[in-house]
Symmetry: C2
Subunit: 203 residues, 2 copies
DNA sequence: GCGGAAAAATGGCTGCGCTCAATTTGGGAC
DNA sequence: GTCCCAAATTGAGCGCAGCCATTTTTCCGC
């Protein structure tokens, strides 16, 4: 019971944190990020407003918390989906398609998330987002590494540079779509041609 | 006098707009974007708070206005600087180095700008930022096109895809630096290796 | 000039995110 | 069981961006 009772306080905190994040998730989805007030989240989670800000320093942090766990899962799914295909290009496209499909479920929320990714301010945010980036880049690096084995990718290619460049291209075009510069069709085209060009090179 | 008197109203608006943007510019630089209040900008510009919001719908828009003209000029300088060199890789690096040097004058403000680039919400913003993007991508495309002439770049390479991919890599690493994931030295290395890889290709 | 209509400017007001002094809760020492 | 302290919770209050009913300025037909 000692271990359990020590855990009691932590247990409550964890459960409360879960309620807050779940409430935020639901409200963000239902009425949008900007349109949801801290008071509403607090009410839905059954806590006072002030309590929210002991679990997340800002409303923005809450958005990151909402995405964090889900995104890690999506990255795993994206990787699994990519592994089903053959050929590095098809694999990478499949990987990003899975991620886009996830974002397409709620484009406004994805748009709000993208704003935060471009403005990491606190150490908390840096840690959470850094974890996501490590996960995505790691999986992409694995795909590239796999392609090295069967000679699709040159042995001298630095894995992380390749992973970062692939992601950079995806990220840029995703932003263009979420900001309303291009539609989904144009996005697909742009992503494919960008990845294709990175594979063959300019020279 | 007819033409001038018709212009009088426009003249005043333009001059007032100039004062507001200049005041915002100075205050953002002096005490930071978040730390500057609309009231302070209004006082410095000699107008009422409400007036600001007839020239810019939000404080965010004001930030974009502040950068817009300067950025167009920086892109021109970056292009001029790139043309001095030979070899597409060196040119592209010189181009981005000029842009980074500009942002380095005020990293916090560059960071704030980056947040807006990732969250274009109004048609006004889309127009202003779209103009910047067109300018940057156009110049990059020109550099790539020039390199095509002397065979450094394959004739079949689509110019805009190349320009977008180059920019995407720059943008991604710039964001990493501004968000505090990497320092300037790592940025330089990452940018160069990313561009190098795009030139040679993964395959 | 003058009248009036349209455009621009104004600033008190509202609703928001977030703070912080005061209060409640939980858990160990005895 | 009781006491005590630290950790957790609370919500009224604060400062901010942005709104909008009112006032001021500008322009044109006469």
């Amino acid at each position: 019971m000692a271990a359990a009772s020590i855990g009691r306080r932590e247990q409550n905190k964890l459960e409360k944190r879960g309620r807050i994040v779940a409430a935020a998730r639901a409200l963000f989805t239902y009425k949008g990020f900007e349109e949801t007030t801290s008071q509403e989240i607090a009410d839905a989670a059954g806590v006072a407003v002030g309590t929210i800000f002991t679990y997340a320093r800002t409303k923005d942090d809450l958005l990151i918390l909402v995405f964090h766990d889900e995104m890690l899962a999506v990255v795993e799914r994206a990787y699994a989906s990519a592994r089903k295909s053959d050929g590095i290009q098809v694999q990478v496209v499949a990987f990003f398609d899975t991620m886009v499909a996830y974002h397409e479920q709620d484009l406004p929320l994805a748009h709000a998330l993208m704003r935060q990714l471009g403005f990491v301010s606190s150490a908390d945010q840096r840690a959470l987002i850094g974890e996501l980036m490590t996960s995505v880049l790691g999986k992409l690096a694995q795909l590239v590494d796999g392609a090295k084995a069967d000679g699709q990718v040159g042995a001298a290619v630095p894995l992380m540079t390749a992973a970062r460049s692939l992601f950079a291209i995806y990220y840029f075009h995703l932003g263009s779509m979420l900001s309303g510069y291009i539609d989904r069709t144009q996005f697909d085209r742009a992503l494919r041609s960008g990845i294709g060009l990175l594979l063959t090179g300019l020279e």
